[in-house]
Symmetry: C2
Subunit: 422 residues, 2 copies
């Protein structure tokens, strides 16, 4: 790709995302739906005018990392610990039920081979933290109790999904699973979660000291982006999903950060506000690129709309995908309304689901119709919940300006990174 | 390249650039020297641990575009018009003298073929706006009279350099130059300069209206970056250097913008300040990537240090490169001190020079030793002037906070994008 084409692609992605997001908000839908739609419009499903090269994909990855960083930054770790039991319950049920039900449905009702059925079940497990949190942020419900439960559960789900993917991949390549490898993957991920927040916290203290001592402006943008990239890289190196690196970096810089043994460290409010103010435009620039590329990666033409198999597959697995995520939510001791919200918020699959489907196709495990069915299920789980959540939250006010400093020029609409102005 | 490697590369580039910039400033050199050094250290000249792929190069291009945008944004167009005559004089002499002297030296003293000599002369013509303005910004002299003269001259030089490159390229491929093509290139560039600022101004008014009407935060980062990308693409499509698109977009959003026929349009200060505050972190993130990649693109190993030809070539052409840029500066009616500063500021070659050299090598016009000699000359013209300028400005105060709002948290050191704290 030459530079000029790249500029044009990036330009078209940014402008289309914004226009579609404005239309979506005007029609009463969350902005993220507009950005996903922009991808579907520009991609192979409709116009087919953007072929995202390596660079667009990398920029999209930075976008989702930064969104997770922001989610971490705005997380109150004590709330996360308070909601821990509910989160674990939601995550475990929301992982096990789709996997088992998906596997059984594929194996028994559709008579698919065992390995195919395992991949189908796996693709149904992981909740998309990015889409779920983005919708809650758009609705101003990031800091609500159910928001915290969903966040904790989605993080756990992502970890479990990646472990499962590693195991299934090994199984499909080697024909078996060794307990040693499974243990290693789990150990590394556990290590990452113990080390990362503490290390990120130490680095953030270093950044603050350099910032005070340095005469040179511009430290915060490069230092914070570097920190996020470092933990994404570290997460990957230790076998954890890269996204969790972004989340860990954000968590470590959040207002109140609790180390193990109850040592609480407060980020000085002045430093926290400068980080928030300077990172906000960067996050706002990169995140739409991610959601557009999710839309770009769906190809609705791959679906043979006249096949009965596809429709049966689609409806039954969509049912499983939706119902199975409610299982854990209904078990929690929350009020019914909250349980319903949690269940709905856990529905979107997104990235990890798509990675499962893609791996299934490229390794020859999925044939075209199973792949198309999976893609449709994933697409619908991603597109529907934002509307349901918006309806469920209709009569409830957004968190009032909890998410940090407001833009002094335009207080009501730029309170948070993506706005708490539902 | 996989995502994880990309994260690591970008991380290493950002961190090394910052560390080297801090060291440079500590040693009394401009920050940009540190960033160029970081590239030389990480690149083939020394450690050879970073092979910038397509993505890093694209990010670097965005970096230089945004820097030019910032230069345009901070430009007072009336000052630029006031200094117009001096700029034109400096540019014409600073273009003609290096080209003619370089050609004659190559042809007569080194007995090189005509086409090679033309390319050598061409590579010596274009002033690097990016490096020159960055140094003046670092020294807080962006808005000084000589800063404005250099800016105007560098813009003109870049246009002339690109026209010459187009002509020489045609000459080397087709064996001749048609007057029609030359006229077409010139006409398009002229058109671009007439249309671009007006169009950008109209778009910026549109952005302001959408910004007022929209409920969705995050308009400014995506809209302004899109605007810059659009004009870079447009400039390229019309045969002008892409950088000038970034400059035109910035100019159109500057505080006081004058249309032809003397119609002055003021950007509302509140809107201007929001653009500045929100674009600053994005610019600070991207620009170091550009300067690091300039360092990465130099390979000091390509120089056969024992060859007498290389040293003779290097010293004589360096002399021509330095002396010829003083020609125009000395003709201006400015005080002697200003004339010297202008002469020094025009010395850095950089991008366009490297493009000439690269085209010379890949088309087989330059052999290894001529290429290595050119690279050395370009490297020295880029590395030396920042030190000279810093010395020349030692006893003069920086512009005091002319460049817009200051970061309320840290007023003295973040007055401008890259700091006016010399």
């Amino acid at each position: 790709m030459d530079t000029s084409t790249f500029f044009l692609y990036l330009l078209v992605i940014l402008v289309t995302a914004r226009v579609c997001a404005e239309v979506a908000v005007h029609l009463g839908a969350p902005a993220v739906i507009g950005e996903l739609t922009a991808g579907i419009v520009l991609g192979p499903s409709l116009l087919d005018i953007i072929q995202p090269g390596e660079t667009i994909r990398f920029l999209a990855e930075i976008g989702i990392l930064l969104l997770l960083f922001e989610v971490g930054l705005e997380t109150d770790i004590r709330k996360l610990i308070n909601t821990g039991r509910s989160s674990v319950l939601v995550a475990l049920a929301g992982f096990t039920l789709p996997f088992v039900l998906g596997f059984l449905l594929a194996k028994l009702a559709f008579d698919l081979p065992t390995l195919v059925s395992l991949f189908v079940g796996g693709a149904l497990t992981a909740t998309s933290i990015g889409i779920t949190m983005r919708v809650l942020i758009d609705l101003g419900q990031r800091s609500s109790r159910e928001g915290q439960i969903v966040l904790g559960a989605a993080v756990l789900d992502d970890v479990l999904g990646v472990v499962l993917l590693a195991l299934l991949y090994e199984f499909s390549v080697a024909g078996g699973i060794t307990l040693g490898n499974t243990g290693k993957v789990l150990l590394f991920i556990l290590l990452f979660f113990l080390i990362a927040p503490v290390a990120a916290r130490l680095i953030s203290i270093l950044i603050r000291h350099v910032d005070t001592a340095s005469d040179l402006p511009g430290l915060i943008p490069t230092a914070i982006v570097s920190l996020v990239l470092f933990f994404a890289w570290l997460a990957h190196a230790m076998g954890a999903p890269e996204l969790l690196g972004g989340f860990a970096a954000g968590l470590a810089l959040s207002r109140r950060f609790v180390l193990p043994f109850g040592i609480a460290l407060r980020t000085p409010p002045e430093f926290f506000m400068r980080i928030e103010a300077q990172m906000r435009p960067i996050i706002q620039l990169f995140t739409p690129i991610f959601f557009v590329t999710v839309g770009l990666s769906l190809n609705l033409h791959e679906v043979d709309w006249s096949s009965a198999f596809i429709w049966a597959f689609f409806f039954l697995f969509l049912l499983v995908a939706v119902a199975s995520k409610f299982g854990g939510a209904l078990l929690t001791p929350e009020p019914l309304r909250q349980r319903i919200i949690i269940g709905v918020a856990m529905i979107p699959r997104g990235e990890v689901g798509l990675i499962f489907a893609e791996l299934g196709r490229t390794s020859g495990i999925f044939d075209d119709s199973v792949y198309a069915g999976m893609i449709m299920v994933i697409a619908f789980t991603t597109l529907i919940p934002p509307f349901l959540l918006k309806t469920l939250y209709q009569d409830r006010p957004a968190d009032s300006g909890k998410t940090g400093i407001s833009d002094t020029k335009k207080p009501p609409s730029e309170g948070g990174f993506r706005g708490d102005d539902s």
